[in-house]
């Protein structure tokens, strides 16, 4: 069962069918940047990109990802460690407090740019973030970070 994860071919053969995508990423591949918050499809902490589209990794079987390309938070930065523009924007604008929801926020934001383009206004971002819950920040800095991150992605040709 071939699945591409962060650009590398991985094999999920032998993984029990009841394994969730998020369990496979965290427990089998050690990619613990994808978080499990509510585990009920509501909080978005487990958001990853599946063929470029933001999905909740707690609500998918790993088997359903067969043949697909999965990108997690670990797959965003450049090989030399340079942050992805969306990560850099979250850092620059302090779009986090405790950081637990942050990987999901960033993956949702990258997915948002992929679907809607780089010119995102605050109202659109707020509406699009309805599936990502943050219990610390009040969202203001997250929205600001995504606005800047989207422009950063445009400037970087992403």
């Amino acid at each position: 069962m071939a699945i591409t994860v962060n650009g590398a071919a991985r094999d999920a053969a032998g993984v029990p069918p009841a394994t969730l995508l998020v369990e496979w990423l965290r427990d089998h591949l050690g990619l613990t940047g994808t978080h499990v918050g509510c585990d009920t499809s509501q909080c978005g902490a487990c958001t990853v990109l599946l063929d470029g589209e933001a999905v909740k990794a707690c609500t998918m079987l790993v088997a359903q990802a067969e043949g697909s390309s999965v990108t997690t938070i670990e797959g965003l930065a450049a090989p030399d460690g340079a942050l992805h523009p969306m990560q850099a924007a979250f850092s620059a604008h302090h779009g986090l407090q405790c950081g637990f929801c942050t990987p999901g926020m960033i993956m949702a934001a990258v997915g948002m740019v992929g679907r809607l383009g780089h010119a995102l206004d605050a109202a659109t971002i707020r509406h699009e973030l309805e599936g990502n819950l943050c219990r610390c920040t009040g969202y203001l800095n997250i929205v600001t970070a995504i606005e800047h991150g989207a422009r950063g992605m445009r400037d970087a040709g992403l």
Partner: protein, 265 residues
Amino acid sequence: MRGFEYLKPATLAEAVAALSGGDEAAALAGGHTLLPAMKSGLRAPDRLVDLAGVPGLAGVSEEGARVRIGAMTRHAALARDAIVAGRLPSLAAAAGMVGDPAVRARGTLGGALANNDPAADYPAALLALDGEVETDRRRIAADDFIQGMFATALEEGELIVAVRFRPAARAAYAKFRHPVSRYAMAGVHVARYAEGVRVGVTGLGQGAFRWSEAEEALAADFAPGAVAGLRPDTDMATGDIHASAEYRCHLAGLMLAQAVTEASA
């Protein structure tokens, strides 16, 4: 989650055959209701039949007076489809109100209708837009398909293949969402046809239904004023921790007026 056998058939016939095996086989479409139900222990199928490998189950096409939408069409694809936007704009709007963007990327029309959650958006759309459910063995009219909460006309192992909706002259869907689950606390889908008006209601707690008093009033005069103060009978609603039956009926009245206003605009 309890263990199960996972099958991914390559044809519809294989999928139907696979569903007839096992003690409790379940069809897996987008999985956004089934998997949470399995995780919480509400469902424990011993066999999952993933429909993602069956060709031809997703997509939209025009068929004369109707628009045919494949059962595996995901909410996000439905919401942005050009044919749906042009001919069934209220259905596109309803699809865009399901869950959140990540849920819409995975959840499907057929899966949602087969589940028929009493607070889901599509059951009201199916009733209002005169939908016809095509399965692996027959076609079922909306009024026969919807049979109360979580209950449909589907037989054991029967699979939805597509749904045919009938575009209306004017239609709109108004929804008061639960702020966390994003399910409808009350949702009203209104569709005006040459021969009459159809009104589908969801979210009141006992399953989607057609609101005949609203249909009659709007057939006589398709304007918000014609239904001012109209509320469903509280017998049609169930109260819970989120809202009483009376409040849900109140919301349904407001959503009706909002949908009619939008449809008249």
